[in-house]
């Protein structure tokens, strides 16, 4: 563990790339090329299960994350072979070296967490985290990662957090926006307790276990509908996390919504505050307007920024939210939300850009707090 810490601090790149090191990319995707890649990280029981049952030959692509859909893979990020997001050299050459963040947080949205067998899901998550450390974090000191946990068993998820927390390169806990129960429910609290203990934010990423349809009216026909509906799922998240009192119970905990979209939030909070004024007695542990709780505890990654280009909506968002501390820079690599290097919808030299690129991520992730863009000898 000491080696890992020394590794990440001492071997930082010199200031370079588009942002000269003064940036943290809070959402890049890495993907497991195949189940086979996890076999070395399984014990003899699970290796035998996987081999005899042919599990090593199947795909665990997630329905909410089709790897080849145009939005999910920018053409110049597509590997010659293999699954999008599985090629380290593309991440490094076409992205990290280009943008030059001092750190990039890798999120592995992997179908193993959707397995109904709680033990198998837990074992797969542990294997994925081992694989992330060996195949990604060890290869580039800029990389950080979210701890993948089995969403169907919060106690086993808490165990994985404990197991992984000693590696400082893991900087948050990964959950999906749409699982079995709203994320504020007490069933999830063992995860939040473990994360709180270790100063790890919870990173809620767009995605669904499809225990419920994404639309209230049922299952639609198109991925486009479900992708747009991710924002509706995050809106429910806000309501749940605040109403259930997660932040009353865990006052130090922060949540980062990733690939959630941004511009839907102000109207949601206007309404939440309005309703709360009269319904307050139902949730009396919420002692300030919900918008204040959100301002203090919830952050959003930048991409996809769902507004017309050049319309000034990022600045308006900050005005409406009454804070410039909520947005965390992200590219959502390799998803196709922007062309070229246009990851930032505002002038990169502006004070707001500096907050988004650099200050806000470091304030949100305690393990990145001491990050510096300059090289350490």
């Amino acid at each position: 563990m000491q080696d890992q810490a020394a590794h990440s601090m001492a071997a930082q790149r010199p200031a370079s790339g588009l942002f000269g090191g003064r940036a943290v990319d809070c959402d890049v995707h890495i993907s497991v090329p195949s189940v086979k890649a996890l076999l070395p990280y399984l014990d003899s029981y699970w290796r035998q299960q996987f081999l005899t049952r042919g599990i090593d030959r199947i795909s665990w692509n997630m329905t909410s994350d089709p790897p080849n859909a145009p939005l999910m893979i920018r053409p110049d990020r597509r590997p010659a072979n293999g699954r999008p997001g599985s090629d380290f050299s593309i991440l490094k050459d076409k992205h990290l070296d280009l943008f030059g963040p001092s750190a990039a947080i890798a999120n592995c949205i992997y179908g193993g967490m959707a397995l109904h067998s709680e033990d198998m899901a837990a074992v797969v998550c542990t294997a994925v985290n081992d694989w992330i450390a060996a195949e990604w974090l060890d290869r580039d000191p800029r990389l950080r990662a979210s701890i993948v946990v089995p969403l169907n068993n919060p106690d086993l998820a808490a165990e994985e957090i404990e197991r992984r927390a000693g590696d400082p390169r893991f900087v948050q806990v990964l959950m999906l926006a749409m699982g079995e129960q709203p994320l504020g429910k007490r069933a999830h609290w063992p995860i939040y307790a473990a994360a709180s203990r270790h100063g790890l934010p919870i990173g809620v990423h767009a995605g669904s276990l499809y225990h419920h349809p994404a639309l209230a009216g049922g299952y639609g026909s198109y991925f486009l509908e479900d992708y747009v509906a991710q924002a509706f799922g995050f809106e429910s998240c806000v309501l749940s996390l605040v109403s259930e009192g997660v932040f009353a119970k865990f006052p130090e905990l922060k949540f980062v919504f990733m690939e959630s979209g941004v511009t839907w939030l102000p109207a949601a909070l206007w309404r939440f505050d309005k309703t709360w004024r009269g319904v307050r007695a139902e949730i009396p542990w919420v002692k300030t307007p919900p918008s204040q709780v959100v301002r203090d505890h919830i952050r959003l990654t930048l991409q996809p920024f769902d507004a017309p280009d050049g319309a000034g909506r990022l600045e308006r968002f900050c005005e409406q939210m009454k804070t410039d501390e909520m947005i965390l820079f992200s590219t959502d690599f390799p998803h196709w939300h922007f062309d070229g290097e246009d990851a930032l919808p505002i002038d990169a030299a502006s004070p707001l850009a500096r907050k988004i690129l650099w200050d806000n991520p470091r304030a949100t992730y305690p393990r990145l707090n001491a990050l510096s863009p300059e090289v350490a000898a």
Partner: protein, 139 residues
């Protein structure tokens, strides 16, 4: 601005724990009786003008953490019958936005140093006194 004093009701009109609506000086007023102390609020929620007199008289629900509920100051709050905003009968202060709420000092005797900042979250209050068996309100 000089105020006038109006006899608006008999004390027996307002039983403890109830509200009673009167009109005086061009205003609709909700009278409350908290264990023998009388209070008067403008009978108009500052939100959308619902009649506070038609609202339920309640205590204030509190919780230190999720799942542990208690009521304090039972009977000292009124909920607007429309959107449910809660008002402290004694002060007119709404608890839905404590940062913005201030006591509106119509009364003499309230420290003049109090903030008089008005917000949309305060019900108008009126000074009330009892003379013999009559309730007198200053408007």
């Amino acid at each position: 601005m000089s105020k006038s004093r109006f006899v608006v009701a008999r004390t027996s009109d307002v039983a403890p724990g109830t509200s009673h609506r009167v009109s005086a000086g061009g205003r609709d007023i909700a009278l409350f009786n908290l264990s023998g102390d009388y209070f008067a609020l403008g009978d108009r929620c500052p939100h959308e003008s619902g009649s506070l007199c038609a609202g339920k008289i309640v205590g204030f629900a509190e919780a230190d953490e999720p799942g542990h509920y208690r009521i304090v100051r039972d009977g000292e709050f009124v909920r607007c019958p429309w959107h449910g905003w809660e008002f402290d009968i004694r002060t007119g202060k709404s608890w839905c936005d404590p940062e913005k709420s201030r006591v509106r000092a119509y009364q003499t005797g309230i420290a003049s140093g109090s903030d008089l900042a008005e917000g949309p979250y305060v019900a108008e209050t009126f000074k009330v006194s009892v003379e013999e068996n009559y309730i007198v309100v200053e408007i």
